[in-house]
Subunit: 491 residues, 2 copies
């Protein structure tokens, strides 16, 4: 519609060579970086999704919509936001609502407190976040752990991802530096280490023991890396696990801490799923508390986020890192790196407060909050069990239960013919073929295990269990039908 | 108050050496990075500000508050947000408002459109932003330039800063790669190039000709860099200028484009102040339009932001980059890099739409929007003139007018004694001493010229002209009194 007004110009005959062309014209480390959670398979899903929405195409696809199980993005598949969170952030963004609307008095008074302590949603905050919010986060962590937390160690960031990237950027100094990561792992870690030009030092989780973490494995891994001349500087642990869903036992947590202490490693604890624990016998224990209780001076960074938990506010892009036992000069460097991005968004910062300091039982917002929270939590727990049980009835599939987080990571034994087919099509692993065919046949989008790392010779995929409860059984049945068809096709 | 419940543990006697200690234990390039806009002086200002707010300290400071002129953060110094913007984002965040409140019908229908085309404020969007919003941004750019803009070339980011960092990260491949930056410049560029381990190739703006940009300077600069073995790959231009406030003429813009074409440079055009142009004889001309009209295939990235302009919504952290003449494989790499951070915040993405597509004259929100917009714009223009005129009456100070942006960058001739004093105190430049004493005496926080780069032997500072109109005269008078006192002290 703008075409008639667009200037048209004839290009000069001289066409200069482009600067930004692969392979030599683009940063090689970024070219070699992989990020499966949003990789080629997901882009294919987006393409199919557009095809389904396009009225000009009479779709010949065998499904009517894409079911995105590739990413922990609860609200994209129908999980409602918590009313309290949205009341707080909308009134913070538009303070006129405080007088004109029907907001609960605790919402009104909390928002007034935030407005008084800030310049509102539209001003840059201090680089590590609004001082009042850092204080309130620290105070909530102190309550959680019964160990003092200090506001100057809290940095509010654009999701936990920004915090992770920032910490890794100060740790990895050059190509000799290694960071230990679990396998399987969340590919933010592998991608960032690759982008920084460092070395991924992999340690394997034990699938046969519900993805537990053994000190033997850690020792093997660090010894091998050091023998190769790698300077191992830090260890990443994800608890509850992503993509694996396990919750670490206290013993496992203490093992990791002692290992870091013994080997002088910075401990990076991804604890963004701390509210997503579905088993009673393994409560979430923070690494901060465990480090303190062991009395060890391990340098620790603990990450948390509003994207997960029960809020599931991925779109707000808000998270934080707490530093512990970290030298002031190192935390000053974190501050400086964050300051180049100025600050995280102020609305997201306020959302972090609603996560850390939910309504108290004596506050007007409590009852609704409680009922919404419990509803979502109960549903997540039921869905995780339902889907896991279903997988365990599929031929050649075994799946550890999801004790926490939002994912299942079933092990899939595929026929040799499928493995050869994937190889002949240049795929890195046969689970890519499996996931691609699943997408094309059912519209269900999951991520191949090879995107997270897995033991040689094993195949997996990661799926969320986030689709609504009234659809999850159908998802399981569609996957079952596909699975058997796939086995038949390649048997 | 939490202390009685806090566990106390006795540390073991073994204290391991810390990993994260300067100078060798932290990433050296990040340690060497400077970012003056939020540097040591600003941290001193924050310290003083806390001192002023602390009721337990009877403050002996000679001022009652800090006037933050160090950063273009309009709402932190009292600029109100535009009502239209806040109505849109609050209703997007809390859709209950659509039925219960008194929002104008155009706000309601626009928010409904956004909700229909997304999963709301709480879901990750596609990595480069919501498809509908990318389409609407492209359409608005097409209208602005009369040159076709395509949604697939638009990437919505966490402020323009994230977009700048992403583009530089794909351009700088290693220590041999250089990027041309103006001097003076906004330190995001120097800091990011340093962090990436590349080379800053400086070209000087001509202060005597109102900070214009000469091809001779560009040629000198690139020749010197190439003679030193630097592979010069890109050129940054900031229009309107930051910290310098000039608006480039069409001839200057075309000169830059031809220079990039001749030397095969990617052109990075920082155009975040495109709505902040206060002179009639030099309208803003986008590099996108000029590149198209010249018919040259220069690779271009143009940056824009909701933080500046008349909205001044810094806290929302939203911006975009438009790529033009850039190979699909390079833009795919931009996509991949952004995907590791998942996406920018959805509320900020919606705010970008309000900037690019403000209410039309036939819409109910128009009149209020127009009056708020014009009020802020007129005030900015008057304040820039008032403060600039004041500076030009100070002894030894000359200041180019601010044709655009939010800054003045006066040239200050300081006595030799002050220069020696700064040197003896280890300061990089005497303007640091000047700005520090200004802060300590008046509470006014500005940034030394050395933080932006300046010609050897010259001294400057950058100040915003953002404080409210009823205070700006007082600010000018305080600065005048300080200036003369400073000159006397060191004469």
């Amino acid at each position: 519609m703008f075409l008639p007004r667009i200037a048209r110009h004839i290009s000069t005959s001289h066409v200069s060579p482009k600067v930004l062309l692969p392979p030599n014209g683009l940063n090689p480390t970024l070219q070699s970086m992989d990020y499966a959670v949003r990789g080629a398979l997901v882009q294919r899903a987006d393409h199919l999704s557009r095809q389904l929405r396009d009225p000009s195409q009479t779709s010949s696809l065998p499904f009517s919509r894409i079911v995105y199980c590739n990413i922990g993005n609860p609200q994209s598949v129908g999980q409602p936001p918590l009313t309290f969170v949205r009341q707080i952030i909308s009134a913070f963004a538009y303070p006129n609502l405080l007088s004109s609307s029907h907001l609960p008095p605790d919402v009104v008074s909390r928002v007034r407190t935030f407005l008084d302590a800030s310049h509102g949603a539209g001003a840059y905050t201090e680089s590590p976040g609004l001082p009042l919010l850092r204080e309130r986060v620290a105070s909530a962590i102190t309550d959680r752990d019964r160990v003092a937390s200090h506001p100057e160690n809290i940095f509010l960031t654009s999701g936990a991802s920004e915090a992770v990237k920032t910490l890794l950027s100060i740790i990895v100094r050059g190509p000799q530096d290694g960071v230990m990561i679990p396998i399987p792992q969340y590919p933010l870690y592998s991608a960032t280490i690759t982008a920084l030009g460092g070395v991924q030092v992999q340690y394997f989780l034990d699938e046969d023991d519900n993805w537990s973490l053994s000190v033997d494995q850690l020792n093997q891994s660090i010894e091998a890396a050091r023998a190769n001349g790698v300077s191992v500087r830090a260890l990443v642990v994800i608890n509850p696990g992503n993509p694996t869903g396990q919750v670490l036992s206290r013993k496992n947590i203490e093992d990791v801490i002692r290992f870091c202490h013994q080997h002088n490693l910075v401990l990076l604890a991804d604890e963004v799923y701390q509210s997503n624990v579905y088993v009673d016998h393994k409560p979430f224990i923070s690494f901060k508390q465990a480090v303190s209780q062991l009395g060890l001076d391990v340098e620790l960074a603990s990450f948390h986020s509003v994207s997960k938990g029960i809020m599931g506010e991925c779109g707000l892009r808000a998270g934080y890192v707490e530093l512990h036992n970290i030298d002031r000069r190192a935390s000053d460097l974190v501050y400086k790196v964050l300051s180049v991005g100025l600050c995280s968004n102020a609305i997201g910062q306020v959302a972090i407060d609603t996560m850390m300091n939910p309504p108290r039982p004596d506050e007007p917002s409590y009852d609704l909050y409680r009922s919404e929270f419990d509803g979502i939590f109960g549903s997540l727990k039921r869905k995780s069990i339902l889907l896991c049980n279903a997988f365990n009835t599929f031929e050649g599939v075994t799946c550890n239960p999801s004790e926490g987080a939002m994912y299942l990571f079933p092990n899939i034994a595929l026929p040799q013919k499928a493995i050869r087919e994937a190889l002949s099509r240049g795929m890195p692993s046969a689970d890519v073929l499996y996931c691609l065919e699943l997408l094309e046949e059912t519209g269900i989008c999951v991520v191949p295990g090879s995107g997270f790392g897995q033991r040689e010779g094993t195949l997996h995929f990661r799926t969320t269990f986030l689709p609504p409860e009234d659809q999850i059984e159908q998802v399981a049945e569609q996957m079952r039908a596909f699975h058997h068809k796939f086995l038949n096709k390649f048997s």
